[in-house]
């Protein structure tokens, strides 16, 4: 195992702790005086990043699925986007538990996350 792969594996393991720790938490309120680190789930942010940027890549920048998969690839590469070109919508999932959707709205305002 290369050092890079080991690093990714260790980071993924660390993310697993975040997953266990916060996957059941309801959406927290806007913090009044954010302390760092913020009380967010890295994996939730990762799927939201992937869904939103994949949507904009596909439907604002007009690039194809392969290009957009590469465009949104993050490290660690745990989130996978899928493209619904007919509905101009994307979904990203990670570890079978985390998911986020983004929807193209119109030419002026592009894509936005679909909040559950």
């Amino acid at each position: 195992m290369s050092l890079a792969r080991l690093t990714i594996a260790l980071r993924a393991a660390a993310l697993g702790v975040v997953l266990v720790g916060s996957s059941c938490a309801s959406t927290p309120p806007l913090p009044t005086a954010p302390a760092r680190p913020y009380d967010d789930s890295v994996l939730t942010m990762l799927v939201r990043y992937t869904a939103k940027e994949a949507c904009s890549c596909a439907f604002v920048m007009d690039r194809d699925d392969d290009y957009c998969r590469a465009w949104v690839k993050a490290s660690p590469s745990l989130a996978t986007p899928s493209f619904d070109r007919a509905r101009r919508r994307t979904r990203a999932t990670a570890l079978g538990v985390f998911a986020a959707d983004a929807q193209w709205v119109d030419n002026q305002v592009g894509c936005a996350l679909v909040t559950p």
Partner: protein, 382 residues
Amino acid sequence: MLVVSALLLAAFGTADAEACPSREIFPTTDWQTKAAPSSSATAALEAFAFSLTGADEERKGIRTDAVLIVKGGVVVYERYARGFTRDTRHLTWSVTKSLTGVLAGVGVRRGLVDLSASICSYVDGLPQASCGITVEHLLTMGSGLDWQESYEEDESLLHSSVLIGLYGSGQRDLGVFNARHALRDPPGTSWRYSSGDSATLSRVLRKAMAPTLGERFLWPTLLQPIGAENGTVELDGAGTMVGGSYWYATARDAARLGYLALNDGCWRGERLLPAGWMAASTTPNSAYLKKRVGAGADDVYGRHWWLNRPVPDIGQKAPWPAAPEDLFAARGHWGQSILVIPSTDTIIVRFADDREAGAFDLNRFIPLAQAVADTGAAEELR
């Protein structure tokens, strides 16, 4: 008539500050173009900017998607790569900040935005501690709020206000999220580059301008007048333009923002920005001069524009010594830039996907692009 004006100007020594700079060429539905001839200058530019220097899948090296050069109001060079075209909108990341800053100028020009007003006079529900922050403080990245500007390279993603603001809990109302950070310094006493300040500025502009101009006020007040109406500008969860990012533009449309700035905020003789706005925007701002927090070696800042001016009082050299000192720039993540050089009447737009920090040297690129601009312009004169 012109002679009389010139004589009057000479006699009284001042021009009407409201007057627009004289300029005959403006793009209409599209730019005038004059393709630069192939030359040693274009070859040198392309060898530097368009030769991938690393394996594509590893995202190493210089990954240019577009270069567009405008000289004297005419496109003299344009090349696209990696699947992008003249018609493709490209994510500009923080280049958007300069668009938001210019939009603030539009709001001031229209009497809807007061730079000296507290942000709390525009946006409801902000913490009392943030009410000492003015619109001017946001424009100069001088709010003093303890926003953490870091991106995906940071090992600790949960320390990044940017990532929390775009993809985490702050996304629901990014401008308010920024204002809820603790104050690191009193407003106006220090500078720190902050996507949060741009977001709060965008929040202010929405409150000031949308009631009379509609939620899509950016288009009729700015993008349509300069012919960049095909731009996409994305919103946060509250429906506010993100402000610090998410303007998607073609290279030709990005150049229009540069051309507006180059022409002192005037477009076809119509003044869109207040007289003096661009001069103030391209002068190191007062918060910056007092104290810089987390500043890099290349950081000289005006009002939502990066500058190339040396600031001897603080020991700051010009960031790009190979470029004219009057250059100012909109700059974004992964190598996006709009470079405006008044002294050579040149605008250079570059879009890219540079994922390797430091792979692209702007100080090498600018003179190469300027040489192409000068070659193209010389050709036109023949």
